[in-house]
């Protein structure tokens, strides 16, 4: 028997678009996630610049600053994931989402895409401040934005999965950092290595092993996220 319009299951693409629009609308109204994530990121970079103001801005400093900025990005991602998971738990959305007639992989993709969009906005703040205060140039090579995107997926793909799992237990905010950071160190190492190689003018050939590492981590975590997200709601 064909579904009536009232009970028809929306296609995955339409469900994805609708849910993603809802995520952005909610954030546009409350601005809670961007405010906390953005403020955390800005404060971290300013504190870093303040702490290192007496150091000469030579090549060694540039490499240190680049690593420190990536650590800020990782921690900002953790703050954002925690904030988003906490907000959804408070509104009881975890249970509501489970009742939706859509594939759990679609829900995972929605959460990943929204977290990615908010992290990219935060990174604009981080890298703008980094350029201003620490002389870190995110536009030194046209491949750097691609590196940033791959690293973001590498951070957020396991992050969304673990944030959803830890949000429902007491003290889950602290647990997310404990669980996520060891897993994402290879992503951090890949992002820093690739950017370092590109910044040193070695081109794609020099950055290739790190790009490969980033790509492998991002693909592996993404695949596992899509496969396992549904298991969290059982």
């Amino acid at each position: 028997m064909a579904d009536t319009p009232a009970t028809a299951t929306p296609s995955s693409v339409r469900a994805l678009a609708l849910l993603l629009a809802r995520e952005f609308r909610t954030e546009f109204r409350t601005r809670s996630l961007l405010a906390s994530q953005g403020l955390f990121a800005a404060t971290s970079v300013i504190a870093l610049a303040l702490g290192s103001r007496a150091l000469p801005h030579n090549e060694t400093f540039q490499r240190f600053a680049l690593s420190a900025i990536w650590v800020c990005v990782l921690f900002a991602a953790v703050v954002g994931l925690n904030r988003s998971a906490l907000a959804e738990r408070e509104r009881g959305l975890n249970t509501s989402f489970r009742l939706l007639p859509v594939d759990p992989a679609v829900l995972y993709t929605v959460r990943l895409c929204s977290a990615l969009a908010f992290l990219i906005v935060t990174e604009v703040i981080i890298f703008a401040l980094g350029a201003l205060l620490l002389d870190v140039n995110a536009l030194a090579d046209p491949l750097i934005p691609a590196i940033i995107l791959l690293a973001d997926i590498g951070f957020l793909a396991p992050g969304v999965l673990l944030a959803t799992a830890t949000s429902e237990v007491r003290g889950g905010e602290a647990l997310l950092a404990v669980a996520l950071i060891p897993l994402t160190i290879p992503v951090l190492a890949g992002a820093i290595g690739a950017w370092d190689a590109l910044g040193a003018g070695l081109g794609f050939a020099g950055a290739q092993p790190y790009v490969l590492l980033l790509g492998c981590c991002a693909a592996m975590f993404l695949a596992l996220g899509l496969l396992l997200y549904g298991k969290l709601s059982e």
Partner: protein, 245 residues
């Protein structure tokens, strides 16, 4: 309703057999490492890294004997990653406590084996590279794997018993286990100083025999410890169920 015996005779016999094989094998392996394997084969045949043309080679002398502990520990870490993955996947499919216990027992033994790998590696690095630690890709990825084992145990300890704890343990075990291929692959990234392979470094037949005996002694010993931890967790679980009833 009577609970099934968590420490069945079969599990106990397997653990005992592995422990006996492991203890004997490890003892023979260590004896061969210090009494049978030669100090050096010929000058210039034992390289820390393949020397550049014109650079004099560096001989390992006695220092390489630590490899007979270092290598089997590293292989055990790989086995533990495999068991963690198996435990995680099977728990998600079958939801039986056995698989949950296997995941966490493998992580616990992986933590010990990983620590032994890092420690023996650091001791050798001090002799060979002049420093206990450098941020070489193989070392870094091994440390990351060790941190992941520690994170799984910490995560589990922070959660109350129940379905959520089982899900989180299984998911984390599955996410962390692909880190071992990364450790394996790490020597290909960048210009690391870690030797690419044992056989590439040391080709004498006595060394190969010693390495094989040590490996097939130490790995069963660690797997026996996984079994013991698994049985201990099964007993605890049975007691918890009984108390709840």
């Amino acid at each position: 309703m009577p609970q099934p015996n968590p420490t069945s005779n079969r599990s106990f016999i397997i653990a005992l057999a592995l422990a006996v094989v492991g203890l004997i094998g490890a003892q023979i392996g260590m004896y061969l490492a210090y009494r049978y394997a030669p100090t050096q084969i010929s000058t210039g045949s034992l390289f820390v890294v393949a020397p550049d043309p014109g650079v004099s080679s560096f001989n390992l002398y006695e220092s390489y004997r630590i490899f007979f502990t270092h290598l089997p520990s590293a292989y055990t870490t790989a086995v533990c990653c495999g068991l963690m993955l198996l435990g995680g996947v099977m728990w998600l499919l079958m939801r039986k406590p056995f698989w949950d216990h296997l995941t966490v027992a493998a992580a616990e033994v992986g933590l010990v084996a990983g620590a032994l790998t890092l420690l023996t590696g650091a001791i050798w690095a001090k002799y060979s590279w002049g420093t206990y630690w450098n941020w070489e890709p193989r070392l870094t990825t091994m440390l990351v794997l060790w941190l992941a084992f520690a994170a799984l145990i910490a995560l589990r300890a922070a959660l109350p018993p129940g379905q959520k704890r089982g899900i989180l343990t299984a998911v984390y075990g599955i996410l962390a286990s692909p880190l071992y291929p990364l450790v394996h692959w790490a020597v290909e990234i960048g210009s690391g100083s870690h030797p690419k392979s044992f056989s590439y470094l040391l080709t004498a037949p006595e060394i190969t025999v010693t390495k094989n005996v040590a490996t097939w002694g130490i790995i069963p010993l660690f797997v026996a410890i996984v079994f013991v931890r698994l049985m201990w967790r099964n007993v605890n679980h049975a007691l918890e169920v009984e108390r709840a009833a």
